[in-house]
């Protein structure tokens, strides 16, 4: 355990927080943050575009809901590193697309499941009323079902966003991990604690900020829920 001793001995010169480090590496840090935000936004956006229609399909055609949930469940069970190992050799190990595909597959389940739950919670009275007013299938979906399912869908998006922010760091193995590059890079360059801590704190803060952002969007989109309270 000589390494153990080393980590302690160098403590004075290797603090967890260093303003110096942040100032002299601000460009690199901002680049990493930018990559992290871009990857997260792309992944959650793509996953939502795929998953919400899948949720609607599972809602309309009961027979499909079993297979859809089962397949996205299996994708969710496959470890992130294994997904990266499947995708990277095919797509190219130096492209962020490799990381993106894994992130999208991972976020699918959370959004599909919550969309379906949200749709299932739409009161049948509201649906009956909509049908009675002459709404067709699509009209009812767009005007009644989806707006009323929004809280469920947003829960899914929030869970997906927060876990995606954390998961992007896995891409650091191929140098496309956003803030994960700082974390792993710090570890590999002689346990540079300031770099690791900066990456970690920014990562957790980013998750928090994006989560609050989605809560705000949700409040704007569902004014009736606020009025009820």
């Amino acid at each position: 355990m000589s390494l153990h001793g080393l980590a302690f001995q160098d403590a004075p010169g290797n603090p967890w927080f260093s303003w110096d480090y942040i100032q002299s590496n601000s460009t690199a840090i901002l680049d990493a943050l930018g990559e992290h935000v871009t990857l997260t936004a792309e992944a959650v956006g793509l996953a939502a575009v795929i998953a919400i229609p899948l949720g609607v399909a599972a809602y309309w055609f009961r027979r499909l809901s079993g297979p859809i949930l089962a397949i996205s469940g299996v994708l969710y069970t496959i470890p992130s590193l294994a997904l990266l190992a499947f995708v990277a050799p095919v797509v190219g190990p130096t492209r962020s697309t490799s990381v993106l595909i894994g992130l999208v597959l991972y976020a699918l389940l959370l959004i599909v499941r919550n969309t379906l739950t949200g749709l299932n919670q739409v009161p049948s009275e509201a649906q009956d009323a909509a049908t009675g007013m002459g709404y067709g299938r699509f009209g009812r979906l767009l005007r009644v079902d989806l707006p009323l399912a929004l809280p469920g869908i947003l829960t899914g998006l929030r869970l997906a966003t927060v876990s995606t922010v954390a998961l992007v760091t896995v891409g650091a193995l191929i140098g496309k991990g956003g803030l994960g590059n700082l974390i792993l890079g710090g570890f590999n360059s002689n346990f540079h604690k300031a770099e690791i801590a900066t990456g970690t704190i920014l990562c957790v803060l980013l998750a928090l900020v994006l989560d609050l952002l989605l809560v705000g969007v949700g409040r704007l989109l569902t004014p009736w829920a606020r009025a009820a309270r």
Binding site: A7, T77, S80, Q121, V168, V170, L173, G186
Partner: protein, 239 residues
């Protein structure tokens, strides 16, 4: 399809299995780390969850904790913990993985205790059972399906995340993938794919085995109810 055949060639080489640092070595490390992490997680989460559920307090704490751990990157914990008093080697990795095993264990233990019918609890109290007896003879047996479900979720998650231990050279099957990426895709594309296959198969196998175990430990009359409870947990998004 070239890379797929490379992967199978790599898997077919017996030396890749039996060499030091080969598949069997890595599998052993992977399972040992995972088992220790799940055990540590159970040791912390079950008593706490059972106590909170028994007293009916701290429901928001359970939710807060699971939301909080969702935002912590595994890679960050894996790199930070070796630099703390835990030192290098297996302990920091086991602790890091255990942190992610706690939320599902805790949430399910808590829900399992809380879902016991209040009338059942009243009846038991009316029969003169003390708080401890109520816990041991009524609440715990009824919570077994939930404890088992939490165990399964936690174990699968730990086995999956244990692959990331390779980022800090911590052993496990992920090491095969990390080593492959280190050698480069042209040289070791097959090894990367093979490693991914092994990690994925292990996770799915653990999931399958524990699903059977979960079914076995759930008494027959509770099975129907458990399925309903599953859907309710999903609705809250805590699962």
């Amino acid at each position: 399809m070239n890379i797929v055949s490379q992967a199978f060639t790599w898997l077919n080489d017996p030396l890749n299995w039996t060499n030091p640092g080969g598949i069997l070595d890595r599998l052993g490390e992977h399972l040992a780390i995972s088992a220790a992490a799940v055990a540590l997680g159970c040791l912390v989460a079950w008593p706490l969850g059972i106590w909170l559920g028994h007293t009916g307090r701290g429901g928001s704490l359970v939710v807060l904790l699971s939301n909080l751990t969702l935002a912590i990157p595994t890679v960050a914990l894996l790199t930070i913990l070796p630099l703390t008093f835990l030192g290098f080697g297996k302990p920091p990795i086991i602790v890091a993985l255990a942190v992610f095993a706690v939320p599902p264990l805790l949430a399910n233990a808590y829900t399992g205790m809380r879902q016991v019918d209040p009338e059942t609890r009243d009846a038991a109290k009316g029969m003169g059972l003390s708080g401890g007896q109520l816990l041991r003879r009524v609440e715990l047996p009824l919570a077994v399906p939930y404890l088992a479900a939490g165990f399964r979720t936690a174990a699968v998650q730990v086995v999956a995340t244990a692959a990331l231990a390779s980022y800090v050279n911590g052993g496990g099957l992920g090491q095969i993938i990390a080593q492959g990426f280190g050698l480069g895709i042209d040289v070791a594309g097959g090894q990367i794919l093979a490693g991914g296959l092994l990690v994925a198969l292990l996770a799915l196998a653990v999931e399958g085995v524990l699903a059977v175990v979960e079914r076995l430990v759930t008494p027959k009359p509770l099975r129907q109810e458990r399925r309903r409870a599953d859907r309710e947990t999903i609705a809250t998004g805590v699962a």
